[in-house]
Amino acid sequence: MRRKHMLPMFLLSMGVALLVAATTVGVAASATHKSQGAASKAALKGGVLRVDQSAGQFDTLDPGLAYVTNDWAVLYTTNLNLVNFPNKPGRAGAQLFPEAAKSFPTISKDGKTYTFHLRSGLRFSNGKPITALAYQRAWERILSPKMYAQYGIFDQLNTMVVGAQAFTNGKAQHISGIKAKGLTLTFHLTKPNPTFVSILGMQWFGAVMPSMKYTKNPAGVLVYPSGGPYYIASNSPGRTVVLKRNKYYHGPRFQNPDEIVINSFPNSNGESALLQIEKNQVDFDMAGIPADDAAKVAKTYGVNKPNGQYHVGTESCVIWEAFNNARPPTDNVDVRKALNYAIGREPIIKLLGPNAGGATDQILVPGLPGYKKFSAYGNYPNFAKAKALLSQADVKNPPALNIYYNPASSFRTLEAQFEKAQLAHIGLQATLQQSDPNSYYGPIETKGTTYNIAHSGWCADYFDPFDFINVNFDGRSIQQTGNVDYFYFNNSVFNKAMDHAASLSGQARAKAYAALDQLLMTKYVPAFPLYVPTFRYMTAKRVKNVIYSNYFGYPDLNALSVG
């Protein structure tokens, strides 16, 4: 009897042993982690910061091509800019400081020449010295025709600096208006530009090796020496990015974790990362928490408690419904006003769960120079006013409004359906037009587009109202394709007013833009501003020193401490 069962019993025991062995190895490994964590608890520095990126991945970490907020959050840890944002919470974190530059630039009397003097002894992560050439190359990479980086052109960088347009057109080897000599860097602008220093805070303008090649391929340059607190040690597109501390960085920004490991999971909805953060297996998810969990997480952990785990930070963005100002019936300003009354902001924000953002009917966002709070339309639907405006509009038999949305997002789908229902209350018909989930912006950025209402928004490229108002609503920039002004709003009076505001500086500039913000939303109404979003995120229990940047919309990764 015994002998007969020996083989199967042996095999069964092997199977059980395999399971037990694997689990034991795992538990042992886990125990090692715990003891290591305990030993270095007192230190702020050290450890590996484990970051997930659910439902997303980096477009690219090439500083000349990157434009999305998650890309920039990483580049902020690796870049050494002439001027940059400090690791400080709140408003202080939005004030630029001279980083690679010894001080803010000296500006010529005519306001067109900016001269920077770099600190001596700055080095890239490979030990090579950082000179003015590093910044000249950064500008040339963003504007080179070999890079196809359209974003620089959208921000009019090609017309900002002398010789930039010729360089972009391939007619010059270098941008003649940028002179690099040793540690001195001089910019010659085509006209005075009070936003110029703010623009240099963008993450396109970190020091790059003067030999960094041009490439239009996001996988063209994956790892490269950088001058900031960290450098990209490895970079597998769509998978894992490992940042390591740059031993040559001696600036004021934090270098807390030894390493920052960011794993991207495009297919994940964030639930798994949330559980892992709760179990201390992951420190932070760049996607934040899933909207469905917001109420439960807030109840369990509290919101923004000192040393707490659940954080809500306001972003420097505004989410809006863009109106097509060139297509009936949204070409009529009274219809646009009526929509601002009829749709209702708060009901839409509620779809996103608690603490998703604050309702707004402004284009400028809190924290920007020139932001002055006003309320023109209220946050809840006012059908009576909307109907009155519609009758005033004198639009007979208005065509159905085309609500364009991305069906890949359940929120956008619900929002579009809600808007259709709201419009029905004031007698307007609407049709829902789904976008290609992977190509949402292409059609609305093309002149002649057929949408009337499209969900979109804007986040600060740099902290200046020009970036919100002039960049989006200057109708003179409208081309056949690739339009940033996809409102197709073009008003010569407003264009002049924008030009005037852009020429001002200091308090006068702030006042002018505050007036423009109000004028835009009360007189011209090119959009339906909806809310200023927040970033809702959890950190693992071991994470300390959480400093949220409302410019990047993320906590500063280099500051997070897991030591």
Partner: protein, 324 residues
């Protein structure tokens, strides 16, 4: 045997080309604009035109297919991802070890569990063990991989805290993996995915092995061996198992291919960046070169596995090659 091998090799090559052709037609003829996708947001008409030319999308479809085959054979290139510009071959090289770890590790798990249970059930039919095994079989067959994975994550990973809830660590120690590499971390992070696979496949294998062993035990040659005084273990090893394992080898070859399909769910649940997970994200993003590359790779893997199983089967059972 040589004729058999040559025939099988040619058949495998033919199958490979048919698979690439069908895949290419399906994925490159669907109504989407690869140039627009590759161009990304904020694109200009000039840039789209440039990309269309550089991707040879302006050529007739048969020329595009020819270029695809030419690049595949001549340069071993499957193209570049529209999403992030990475070489598809490189992406597959990154993903394949993850999926291989999952599938082969899972196969070892499910065989190690199902062989003893199957044999025990066959030796003691209608016993408590046999009935318990049947319940296990029913649960395994009925439950979807996603559900099993989520339950394991919740109970073993989250509530008990014995295992990680997800992620994958390379088996090769690396200084740029943030401490998540090496055989111990690799195995630790794969326990739950392997167990998920085990539940999925072990159920079928227990049934298969039980039936085969019971059938073989009633064969004349087994009775003869017993009558000649062979020991129970000798009968089991030499006569019963050898013969009852032949169908298992065949099914295993096919199931390894099927397991690649199962990996789509398992990798998604456990946040592993393998071929399955990559396939899903690329398909959702219309990243056609990656989708085609993975399908071609999977086809090649299945064809190769089946080829090796055919050869192994012919070697184990002479009747196969004699009949051909």
């Amino acid at each position: 045997m040589a004729y058999f091998l040559i025939r099988r090799v040619f058949w495998a090559i033919f199958l490979f080309f048919v698979a690439t052709l069908i895949t290419y037609i399906i994925f490159f003829v669907i109504p989407t604009d690869p140039a627009q996708i590759a161009c990304g947001t904020h694109c200009t008409a000039g840039l789209i035109a440039h990309i269309r030319k550089s991707l040879h999308l302006d050529l007739p479809i048969y020329q595009q297919y020819w270029l695809f085959i030419w690049n595949l054979l001549r340069h071993q290139s499957l193209g570049y991802s529209f999403q992030n510009g990475a070489s598809v071959r490189w992406l597959i090289g990154q993903d394949a070890p993850v999926t291989a770890s999952l599938v082969f590790g899972g196969a070892i798990f499910w065989l190690t569990i199902s062989i003893p249970i199957g044999i025990l059930s066959a030796l003691k039919p209608r016993s408590i063990l046999d009935r318990a095994a049947m319940i296990f079989v029913l649960v395994g067959i009925s439950a979807p991989a996603v559900w099993i994975g989520l339950i394991l994550i919740y109970v073993i990973g989250y509530k008990l805290g014995w295992t990680p809830l997800g992620n994958y660590c390379s088996i090769v120690p690396s200084s740029t993996a943030g401490g998540c590499s090496g055989p111990a971390e690799w195995a630790y992070h794969l326990i739950l995915p392997w167990m998920t696979f085990m539940f999925l496949f072990a159920a079928l294998y227990v049934r298969l092995i039980r039936a085969n062993v019971m059938e073989t035990m009633s064969e004349d040659y087994v009775r003869t061996a017993r009558a000649k005084g062979a020991s129970a273990s000798r009968v089991l090893f030499q006569h019963v198992l050898r013969n009852s394992m032949l169908p298992v080898v065949t099914i295993l070859g096919m199931d390894i291919g099927l397991a690649l399909g199962g990996a789509v769910f398992t990798e998604t649940v456990f946040q592993m960046r393998g071929l399955g997970s990559q396939l899903v994200s690329s398909a959702l993003a219309d990243d056609l070169p990656v989708v085609v590359g993975i399908v071609v790779f999977a086809c090649l893997a299945v064809i190769l596995f089946n080829f090796f199983v055919d050869v192994a089967y012919a070697w184990l059972d002479p009747r196969i090659r004699l009949s051909t």
